[in-house]
Symmetry: C2
Subunit: 224 residues, 2 copies
DNA sequence: GCTAGGCGACGTACGGTGTACGTAAGACGT
DNA sequence: ACGTCTTACGTACACCGTACGTCGCCTAGC
């Protein structure tokens, strides 16, 4: 009471933790983009002096790594219960896309800054477990994990530059932005590009990969 | 001659062009990393005042976009002449990897900053042409391009965080860095992870995709 | 040959950034 | 009661991107 009237400052000892800092950073990133994130902004968001952050986070890079870890840790990697590794693998790759949908800006940090954390290990563990469930071991398992993750990660980036191409194409059908003489196929595919559904594109590639892996476990010999 | 003795300063009129600036930026990025790139550093590299750069590059962001475009424009997308779309598609995806090998740091800029340039259109054109050659049109062609590009781009990023996992595993077999109780498959795959060959991993996934697409064009009906 | 005009290189300056360092105020074992 | 340790904090500095004004050279028209 008397403490409360002593001033507008928070009287309760405000506990500053790495978690609170990371969380604030994630919120700011989603609100104003990655580039707008500064230590000062994070401090302001928490109502704290800038240098106080450095008692819990050694670096801005470390903070960003924390952000990446936060997002990855939020990936839904729990087995859905069905024993079907195909469905599980699909779910795992989709988890990436879901996270990208929830944290569109922070996902960029994940993709850029390679993380080294328990969260990443969890992801790898889950992937390898699924590979093992499908009957793959050793190098093959690692390669399958690599391929799936590459697709999961890459398809997030595609939204960026494929979107740019679409903008280009849509900038008027007859415009000189895309020279029909030099880029005939692009122009020919204009309608398909404009109508494209990112979700369907993603599922298409995922299907392609899963069935390809599926055929790998039980190779069907078939000539011509 | 007399001009030469007038001073150590370059007497020939130093022509500053956007190309020279971008090129210097690429070199600096490869030398000291992306984060170390500053306008001042670029200017120093060219023996020029900082603000002179802004006569040719409106922005630092624009400069980075130029860097990305430079790398993408350097991708070897010329048809190899063989009429085999499979080989051509492989070559196209590999071109990404080759560029990542040549410009490891600058490639990060490419992946991060979505580019809007003629170079990107060239890439899309080539991809769509290959898809058409394989017999795909419209939405399917776009989706195949999406999938291939996602893999091409994503496998570059994999090197980053998969490498981190390996570091973690290799940090002593019995160390507590990777808890065998929580991550049994990771530990079990330790040897495979340590021995893994990024190039082979890449080719594995590429093969998987190409053959999957191949089967798509001539679907073999086969039940059970 | 001379001059008007414009373009491009440059210097200065400002607001903002990450963070090294020193300080001080509370928590706590003795 | 008193050291000690943790931790929030303020100051200061080097560096960043870039807006703006200046000024010298290069060229066009006579």
């Amino acid at each position: 009471m008397n403490a409360a009237r002593r001033g507008p400052e928070p009287v309760v000892r405000l506990v500053l933790t790495r978690e609170r800092i990371v969380h604030a950073a994630v919120e700011l990133i989603e609100r104003h983009g990655v580039d707008a994130l500064s230590m000062r902004a994070v401090a302001a968001e928490l109502g704290v002096a800038v240098m106080s952050l450095y008692n819990h986070v050694s670096n801005k890079a470390a903070l960003l790594e924390g952000v990446a870890e936060y997002v990855v840790a939020g990936l839904d990697t729990v087995p859905s219960g069905t024993g079907d590794w195909r469905a599980e693998a699909r779910a795992l790759v989709r988890a990436f896309r879901t996270a990208a949908h929830e944290y569109p800006h922070a996902m960029r940090v994940v993709l850029t800054h390679s993380i080294d954390s328990t969260a990443a290990s969890r992801l790898a563990e889950r992937s390898l477990a699924l590979a093992a469930e499908a009957g793959f071991r050793g190098a093959t398992a690692v390669r399958i994990v690599h391929t799936l993750m590459a697709y999961a990660v890459g398809s997030q980036l595609q939204a960026l530059w494929l979107g740019q191409l679409i903008d280009r194409v849509s900038e008027g059908p007859g415009m000189a932005r895309v020279d029909p003489a030099r880029f005939p196929h692009v122009v020919a595919s204009a309608s398909a590009l404009l109508a494209h559904d990112p979700e369907a594109d993603f599922e298409f590639g995922l299907d392609l990969l899963i069935t390809a892996i599926e055929r790998l476990v039980e190779p069907v010999d078939q000539s011509t």
